[in-house]
Amino acid sequence: MESNKVTDLTTLNQLSGGDSARKEKYIHLFLTMLPGQLESAQKASSDQDWPRLKNAVHTLKSQLGYMGVKKGQDLAQQIEKMADEQIQLEDIPTCMNNFVAICHQAEIELKAEIS
């Protein structure tokens, strides 16, 4: 079951220098901001507001990287590129659905990590 995890906290452990309080602080920050950021990205996607979508997923891309959500980071990069260059726009809804699902999975795993 471990292999199904979308998060890998190796990077976060390195960034926090083994300080568990620091690591928890970053996870808390991420979990606090995630719902608002996802909502903003979803709204931009349904409104077909590509510049706003690009900005919304851009910030999430770095944060997902720190949380070791590689799949989410790759998808964010893909969506950012599509929104920025306005290419393959018909694929954006599917990518967004996958992206949201990965983020929700990451949310569950990270909550378990700090509980």
Partner: protein
Amino acid sequence: MSVFIVDDDPMQAEMTKDTLAKFRNFSILTFGTGEEALKAIRTSGVNPDIVVLDYYLNSKDVDAANGLAVLRKLMELPNDPFVIMVSGQDRIEVAVNCIKYGAFDYVIKNESVFVRLEQVMKKILKERKLVQETKLYKLMFRLAIIGFFGLIVFILYLWLGLGLDILGSKNLGEVR
């Protein structure tokens, strides 16, 4: 030393702040937009020595000035700070533009961003020390030049004074 962190991502800003907290004597202020940072400079008179500036600053406000525009404003300051640009963009033209407009270095937001940031910060401190030393040596050189000419003038003064005295006594002798 005053350090400004300008980033619209609170998590990135917090992580950057924690990384820079390792450096002693750093007084760190964080801002969510470039406008806030520039306003603080104008109103409080605090001139940052170093600015860690995000390239994209409009995740919340699409009208917010981007990092490049803020960089250009920072470079217009009388004591322009060392600016480190950070961005999730790994496009070479973005980095080239930042350096062109005066950024000291460009750091990509990836797993090694904070290690790189520490390295750049050490480089800045080294450069700053060199600049200060150069200023000190220039001042010392100017003082030495002034001292040297002062000494020459003093010697001339003594020599002329002595010459005049001799001349004066000779003249007196002739009169007598």
